[in-house]
Symmetry: C2
Subunit: 632 residues, 2 copies
């Protein structure tokens, strides 16, 4: 498989021909202009001219349709305010399926963007290839099935390649239906198919350009299969080599990290800067953690169930690696070796996208780790460092199996909203503590303060205390307020009772608010059922707790509250992979699919069914006599 260079020649072009097929600029019936498409192209062309590009906009189709579309382009462009220095010229070309080569030559353009219904050139599996490679067979343009292209694939492809290789004009083929297609192509995004000999690196691992993230994911899967095929000892040996390499290359790592820190100083918040800094002690701890992961039980191929389906026909369900993971993390460079080690232990391939503040640290850590991986090859773990944005990575749902965001709520929410890849994580942690009528008050106060104060910004910190109304008459209300205030917690009032009693307390900003600070909401509820309903209406299904000495009430609460973690008489802060005894923590998930709550290595595993027989057949279910005996 050829790796793909970044699209430097595309981004460098000053004079550009943009050829739009009239079938992509007209309605499906063909009689009406598609003004949404034409308007969007006009917006983008105008913006590119504003940035200094000279643009030849060519409507290609029959003379009637070409005249109609080019007329519309002129009319629309005349509505734009002129900006910048680039020129725009609109013309026509008589044939949809041939390239506007004469316009290219007469204008000295070095880039032709061909926009039609086709998303690009597809491979034998129907996937659009980002870079056309003449050595690969069986390529044909993909077409919108509702409006198939008339162009003959072979003649189009050969003239595009001829233009690119013979005349130095790079060709990009993409669909008008892509959002902001021109702007994104010019920003170097891997949209559509590029025809550019320079974009094909001939030697594998060539330093020129970086691979596309899709290609990285495909190669990570192949490498992960090689990793899975290794015996346990060898996977363990890789981890020990990684640990040793971190110690051995400590100086180099610290030097690169210092450059990141220096650049970030004064530009980012102090807390962010603290997370960015690596120290010898942190690196030793990292190495130690990786050796601990190496010592853990083999996670792959663990027997989950064994069933005798019929005599001599045995069915095992065993654990298996998920495949290819995408980890998106913010400033913390120490997340990289931790996550890479978990991926290696569990036989997964990995794409890593780190925050730009830690770019140098991530690069050196990635290099040190992949060098230690050995025979499996560096493709197992790729660091996405190109200008490709997170949005491009999130579109790779056909080659990436799971995305794990490690960072702010905003990052996680953004990712959850913008990808079809399953996301393991949680956007917010709005945890509740309900103090029941039958609570031991001193226990309640102790647990409440710990749940908030131990680490107020953590996702498992309490954000709302629900106090049973009976405490209003028993002095409990005042004790709760004093305990919180003595611990430095600012109380926000919610509901009539608390608002009346604490007239100086600020109101809660909303019914569902994550303070992530020494602050919480206090509300009085009339019953446990009201507390449960409130948690369901306003919680984030992360962790919720009850304090009570009434064990039957407690059991009802534990059963009814529909959250990832539900606790009785314990601090919400225990909701954590390490405290749960899961070893390394992959994250905490509030999704209800795949893994829920604190997730250890098992979150990086799926299962696989293995059946061993001696020639059994189904034969309309008369082939065997089913026993379905559970053996383990």
């Amino acid at each position: 498989m050829s790796s793909e260079a970044s699209r430097l020649n595309v981004m460098a072009a000053k004079n550009i021909v943009i050829q739009v097929t009239t079938s992509a600029a007209m309605s499906k019936a063909g009689n009406q202009l598609n003004l949404a498409a034409i308007g969007s192209i006009a917006d983008q062309v105008s913006m590119l001219a504003g940035k200094g590009h000279n643009i030849q906009l060519v409507a290609s189709g029959t003379s009637t349709s070409g005249a109609k579309v080019s007329g519309a382009f002129n009319a629309l462009l005349s509505l734009k305010e002129p900006e910048g220095s680039g020129l725009i010229h609109v013309s026509t070309h008589p044939d949809e399926s041939s390239l506007a080569s004469s316009t290219i030559q007469s204008t000295g353009s070095t880039l032709l963007i061909y926009l039609s219904h086709a998303q690009g050139i597809v491979d034998s599996k129907g996937k659009v290839v980002s870079t056309y490679d003449p050595s690969t067979a069986l390529l044909s343009p993909s077409a919108d099935t509702s409006n198939p292209m008339s162009l003959s694939s072979s003649s189009f492809v050969s003239s595009a390649w001829e233009l690119a290789s013979g005349h130095g004009c790079v060709v990009v083929m993409a669909s008008t239906s892509e959002t902001d297609v021109l702007s994104r192509i010019m920003a170097g995004h891997q949209i559509g198919t590029v025809f550019d000999p320079a974009a094909l690196t001939t030697a594998a691992g060539s330093a020129v350009g970086s691979s596309s993230s899709r290609d990285m994911a495909v190669r990570a899967r192949a490498a992960s299969r090689a990793l899975q095929a290794l015996p346990t000892e060898e996977r363990v040996a890789i981890l020990n080599r990684v640990a040793a390499a971190l110690i051995q290359h400590q100086e180099e790592i610290l030097t690169e990290n210092a450059k990141d820190v220096q650049e970030a100083e004064g530009k980012v918040a102090d807390s962010l800067l603290q997370r960015l800094v690596l120290k010898p002690s942190k690196i030793s701890l990292l190495a130690e953690g990786i050796r601990a992961i190496a010592l853990q039980e083999e996670p792959i191929g663990k027997l989950l169930t064994k069933t005798e389906v019929a005599e001599g026909l045995i069915l095992d369900k065993v654990t298996a690696p998920i495949g290819v993971l995408l980890i998106i993390f913010e400033a913390r460079p120490d997340a990289l070796p931790q996550i890479a080690s978990l991926a290696i232990r569990s036989g997964n391939g990995l794409l890593l996208k780190g925050g730009k503040e830690a770019a140098r640290s991530n690069a050196v850590l990635h290099r040190v780790i992949t060098q230690a991986v050995g025979p499996v090859g560096p493709d197992l773990i790729s660091l996405v460092q190109t200008r490709e944005e997170i949005s491009d990575l999130l579109g790779l749902d056909d080659v990436i199996d799971l995305v794990i965001p490690r960072g702010s709520n905003a990052l996680v929410t953004h990712i959850q909203r913008n990808t079809k890849i399953p996301v393991l994580g949680h956007a917010d942690g709005v945890c509740h503590l309900y103090i029941d009528e039958a609570a031991d008050l001193s226990m309640a106060l102790k647990v409440m303060v710990d749940s908030k104060v131990d680490y107020p910004a953590a996702c498992n910190a309490v954000e709302k205390v629900l106090l049973h109304a009976s405490w209003l008459n028993k002095g409990g209300f005042d004790s709760v307020c004093s305990a919180l205030r003595d611990a430095g917690v600012l109380i926000h009032a919610e509901g009539e009772a608390v608002t009346r009693l604490l007239s100086d307390a600020p109101p809660a900003p909303s019914g569902r608010h994550e303070y992530s600070a020494l602050a919480c909401t206090l509300r009085v509820v009339g019953s446990m059922q009201e507390a449960i309903d409130h948690i369901h209406a306003y919680g984030s299904s992360h962790t919720d707790a009850i304090i009570t000495e009434d064990f039957s009430q407690a059991e009802s609460f534990l059963k009814a509250v529909d959250s990832a973690c539900v606790f009785h008489n314990a601090s919400t802060r225990f909701a954590d992979g390490f405290r749960f005894g899961l070893g390394a923590e992959v994250g905490i998930s509030t999704s209800r699919i795949h893994a829920r709550g604190p997730v250890g290595v098992e979150g990086l595993l799926t299962s696989k069914w293995i059946m061993r027989g001696s020639g059994q057949i189904v034969a309309k279910d008369n082939g065997v006599s089913y026993t379905h005996k559970r053996m383990s």
Copy 2:
């Protein structure tokens, strides 16, 4: 919670005012026209006029921006070919945040569509409400954060409600960024927020209009929690009542089904018609199946692990219902009671969307089942029968946890490509059988024929036979061909060897082809590794098998092949929930997340962590001394 009627008044409007805020029609900086947005609106307005609607298009903003935007609308509309009888008139309105009431009155319009950056009115959780209800508090317009609306929410909302309730002009508020926003609003889709007193049904369960699917999902979750709170005996009793009700209402069910069948006759394929028909025997079998589900072990709250975290602090991981499932199924009405019963057994709420061929059958089955549900209420299982399309349902990723498609490959592929809700299913089953050098040939022939012929259209049927090259010299090749041909299987040739040897065989249509018929591809491979690589390159990771007497080779194959099911010396047709002994089958998943391969009731379950303590706190991890003893 109020249920929502369909938007009949919206769809019925002939004279329409479409008010577009200039901030939504200009670039973010505000100096350039957003021609993509304006062009799209012009396309849609022109189309609506073509259908006979009279349209007042109002650009609302300052006099400068209003003139600019209305000028652009006029320019763009003049590019459209006139069609149909509707009139289009473009004007301006001086204030973005107030409604163009005078235009409404002067034109006798009964619908105002207000297009801005805001997606609609949001509730306290930030979700857009489909129907504005003045009895609900705390509503405010959602705004694109990058371009917040200037309108004062309360005055806008009250004048919209005043127009709708006092002047009989329905108001719909939606965002220009929605694809085909106008066309979809006029088709009755639940986009944005509608202000319409008639859309609020005052009596719950009123026959006027049906609930929105979002509302159904929200109520299904509440009902599922009530179901989960019931003791096991009561959930079992519900299932037995459902089984009895099916028998009791058999006549009614058969009558409605007969109407469906009559209407479908001659219009659909015979095989589809067969699946549509219900018979007394089928209903008895259904009832029996439901009683069997009732007898199964309680799936909810099953202990998965038990850990002593610290002295007196015990952590259980138990099974829990997923929440709300969406099942989309095609012609088979018997799928409805089966799936509903699995959902009841596992404590989940359900939205069902059936094929239109079975509409009457589904309606009567749904009514009979929900009547039998009893105190939990009919909201537990909703049948989506409105004009809402599958695409609308697939957008409900915030209120639906899992979608299970039961139907054709095309249906499953469409769903997988168009939703962020996790999908349990498989689009295709391209299963391989590899006949190794060391195979017992007669076993290989027997298993090969069964794997294809037992049910050629099944997803677990073999589509490609990979034959080790050594058989070319041992007579095995001819035996394989004869066995397939004798069983009526058409061989398609792939690769040089087979193409040469079987000159009369048609070529395989592609490297990855699911025949779903008495046909398969035959290819010769040089080694087991080549077979594995081929399966990884062209398979669908469903089920792949090896036939060999070399058990060490077999183990390597079972380990290396990265598919949901991998078999040694057994027919691929065993890949099935019933044959695996899982009891009821939910589906077969080729996803690597949540559940993989044949999935039983466990596919409808997630897990939940329950911790029981006696006041333990974390206190910077000095609060307890961790033991992490695995107890079970």
